[in-house]
Amino acid sequence: MKISYNWLKEHIDPGISATDLAPHLLQLGFEVSSLERRGPAFSGVVTAQILEIGKHPNADRLSLCTVTDGSRKLSIVCGAKNIAVGQKVPLAVIGAKLPGGREITPAKIRGVESQGMICSASELGLPGENGGILVLSPETAVGADFSKAQSGGDDIMEVEITPNRPDCLSHLGLARELSALFRIPLKERPAPKVDASGDCWPVELEAKDACPRYLGRVLTGLQVGPSPGWLAAKLEAVGLRSINNVVDVTNFALMDIGQPMHAFDLDKLEGGKIIVRFARKEETIRALDEKEYKLTPEVLVIADAKSPQAIAGVMGGLASAVGAKTTKAFLESAHFAPPAIRKSSSLLRLRSDSSYRFERGTDLAAVSTASRRAAELILSVCGKQARSSGERDAGQSAPEKIVIHTTVSRLNAILGADFAKAEAAETLKRLSAACETKGDDIAFTAPSWRGDLASPWDLAEELARLFGYDNVPAKASAVAARPSRITPGQTLADKLRARLAGFGFHEAYNYDFVSDRLLERCGLKGDWARLANPISEDWTILRPSLLPGLLQNAAFNLNRGASSARLFELGKVYAKTEAGVEERTQLAGLVLGPAGEPFWRGPEPARGAIYEALGAASGLLEGVPGLSWTEGAGRDPFFGAVGWRQVASAKGALGAVGKIQRPVARAFDLEREDACLFFLDLDRLCEAAAAARRFSPYSQFPSVTRDLSVLLDAKTPYASVLAALPKPGELSRETALIDLFTGKGVPPGKKSLTLRFTFSRMDRTLRDDEIASAMEGILATLKNKLGAVLRS
């Protein structure tokens, strides 16, 4: 909230500058987020001297003064009694701007033109009001800009108040904190004096839990109009707009002592009584913000005999607002239970300075003093005829006492500190006059405004705050008695990330929320888990897959000049279930464009996107037991009907790898390069326990390699070739595909495969004849089973 340092100083004088105050507020837990030095709240006011005083021809109480602003003589009508010839005075000339938005224009007063206004302190928003004009010292130079000559001005601090401290949402509240910190007493103010006469309307308190206390008074003979300058200036300083003298007084009290109040135009109220009740079905109210609100029985209202006139604690109704024609008002000062106000404020999506305070908790004891303070002020600014009735105080007049019984040792134990008993006791007494201590024992009665203090932990914080958090020691914790653990899921995630980075993939982070449009582009349809309150249309659905995000990232990078992308993401995907939402951890990857940067020594990097994607997925799964790869079954939204493969472990489906089908490629503008995707269910993968790796022996004798080129039917899958190979017998044999070729020299409908076999034996060096017979066996089998022809 905005705090005016001048205003604060009316409650306490810390004797330091606003800049120096900020660190102290920080120590108390209130961060000053900005500090602004502000000049006087007026302009166009010059210093002038009264040369002559004459009688106003048409009015006994007015004088007609001739003043000089140093360069010219001006004729000014003035009503003050303390004027005298020779006085130096502040003169608002034509065009001057005064607090409250008041602008000086040429005006005839009782038939005589006045060329400006001699100002009082209040009219300039300055302290030191004396009921007459502000008389400046005789040494004042005439003709100077008074706003510059004036040493006044103010420091406006934006102070951040945490939600647990509604008591500090006022100048008095912060002054109390500073008083406890600096050991400086608050400035005493005389108790408000209100000469009350007559009866107030009765108050019917129907909802005592939601409104424990409701105090009203009737104000009559009001002259509603602009506020005096000092009042307008004060409100403007803390960022409020001046409305009229009655409303301004309630706002002033809000900022001064923290009690929200509301004034109703009594003539607009019907039935001669005020009812505090919950709204009835179908009731509506047009609030001061000129919007119509539909009320529900959860909303607490202030009603007259007929209809709701205010949303209790949140905002008044427009119909009964105090305006220029108001002469009688009903002034409400009440204590509402925070949950009730929070409920209506959130139901109606309506917040105000009042609801902000009520929903955090106000001081029940302050209800009557605030009402008296406001009444006193209204009577002084709303004309001589203004009167107040007696009070009608319904409900509980005193707050429940909260006493915290604890010990200094307990507080020290919570903090790990060693504050001396006597000092601790003295410190707590600064917070509450009703704090009793005896040796170690503490009986702390929380002040009525400190609803946040209820337990020893709360008192421990108070103690630490006032001593300073810096004065609580820092202890080096004991060495961990037990070794720390990491979850299997996280271990797996870390390893997969490292492998993928090693494979050349970059990790992407996408948001968890996607749009209908994005999923449509991927051809995905389903009943997704959705947000009830999305920020935008782009974020409505909890992503069912990581793939759409990666496709979007690929398109984004291609649009920005990238020619290839290797991306992966590891995150949660969501599915809607009976019980709510099922979350699973997914790993997804995207391969697009050439692998790696072009190298000047050539060759061009390979563009084998699908084989690279398959390779990345199988490389990731290396070491997982019981894997089975199969042809993708059915039509996949990303991959289409063919051209993708699925992988499963003994525990079930793990994921798939494929090239995105053309409609998806078109939708993401990725047609230039094949984009291939893979995804794995990490929760499932985590269940598939890896087999322990054991050493497997290899031959100590030299191995022999032989290549074999055969022509095969072009449609024969490589898997069939591997399956067709004869058992290697006593030899050990490894097979690799080193060339696949169609075209020149290969008959149509055929393909040429070159296989490289590596033979070895564990017990001895191989003989030429056994290698030759192994190769013959291979060729014969391939001829028999697949109709292979040796390529010469």
Partner: protein, 354 residues
């Protein structure tokens, strides 16, 4: 051939020695010249070979006297030839290498390499330190119940503190996207007997507009330590160590009062500015301090909510934003960059090797 006499032999030997001053192996300018000289001196009919052969014509005494002299010269010459040959060969290799030298300033072939996301590496670094300090990893779902995310954390319905956590709610469901990783603390406490020391790193969600410094999706690392007699002072000590390990030994911390519903006392923790050594700069807004994390003593209501007796057990908790740390450490000024996945961004950040 004339009769060899001692006199004639000595004259021939002296002549040979004199010629070596002009034409020694060490002066041969290339391997061919060296070989010619070797043949001329030590070949089958080389000058020295002939001299050695002719010794047989002298008397036994003369042979005994002159033989070793000649042998000595031969050994010296052989050594000199070998040395010169080695030197000339090395020179020839060097010359050939220089002739064929490659331009090694050409761009090398770097094996294609990917990177983990800077938020991953930042989170790893944070959790690595905390793991070494005895904190175990704990996880939980991102879609949570109101109970775990709020009520059990001492934020009942209609509590003003709910306003501190703008929340995404799920449609047709009472569930919500967790606003902090604290529900993991609740879940862990409910399933574990104290003492415990855990971290709950992960993704969290706040219903707020995304701009350069706010992200509706971000990451946190929260820590929780529950044992008998754990105090605010232990919290200070732990965070001091954590911050020094994360930002360097000179890092200081500043604790100041704040409010979180789940801790009491609560603190906002600042670290001394990493960029100006607290002298004041634009990053710390001339304050010398950078606001970094929230922490406090676990509120007794939270302990009661999970069935721990607050009169027996006590603890502390802290929470720190991963994006914030990454932005500070990497000099990233717009939080959205982490979620844009521009390869030019992702390629910049390596794991720290040292």
């Amino acid at each position: 051939m004339a009769q060899v006499t001692r006199k004639s032999w000595e004259a021939a030997f002296a002549k040979l020695e004199a010629s070596l001053k002009k034409l020694s192996p060490s002066k041969a300018k290339d391997l061919a010249a060296l070989d010619r000289l070797r043949v001329a001196l030590l070949g089958r009919s080389g000058t020295l070979t002939e001299l050695l052969k002719s010794l047989k014509d002298l008397s036994i005494e003369e042979r005994r006297e002159l033989g070793p002299k000649a042998q000595e010269l031969r050994a010296a010459l052989e050594a000199a030839f070998d040395a010169r040959k080695t030197a000339l060969e090395a020179q020839a290799d060097d010359d050939a290498a220089a002739e064929n030298a490659l331009d090694l300033t050409l761009p090398p072939h770097v094996p294609p390499r990917g990177r983990v996301h800077p938020l991953t590496s930042t989170l790893e670094e944070m959790t690595r330190i905390l793991s070494l300090m005895g904190f175990s990893w704990a996880e939980g779902p991102l879609v949570e119940s109101d109970d775990n995310n709020f009520t059990k954390l001492n934020i009942p319905e209609h509590h003003p503190a709910r306003g501190m956590f703008d929340t995404f709610y799920l449609k047709d469901s009472p569930l919500l996207m967790r606003t902090h990783t604290s529900p993991v603390q609740i879940r862990t406490m409910e399933s574990t007997r104290p003492p415990l020391r855990i971290i709950s790193p992960g993704r969290v969600f706040r219903h707020e507009a995304v701009d350069a410094t706010h992200s509706a999706v971000f990451h946190q690392v929260e820590g929780l330590y529950i044992d008998k007699g754990v105090s605010f002072a232990d919290l200070k000590g732990t965070l001091d160590v954590f911050m020094q390990k994360l930002f360097g030994a000179k890092t200081r911390t500043r604790f100041r009062p704040s409010y979180f519903p789940f801790t009491e006392p609560s603190a906002e923790v600042d670290v001394s500015c990493l960029f100006c050594e607290s002298k004041g700069c634009s990053i710390c807004k001339n304050s010398g301090w950078i606001e970094l994390l929230g922490a406090g003593v676990v509120h007794p209501n939270v302990l009661s909510a999970v069935g721990y007796d607050p009169e027996v057990w006590s603890g502390f908790a802290f929470g720190i934003g991963v994006e914030r740390i990454a932005m500070l450490r990497l000099g990233v000024s717009d939080i959205r960059a982490f979620y844009e996945n521009d390869l030019r961004f992702l390629k910049q950040f390596d794991e720290n090797l040292v």
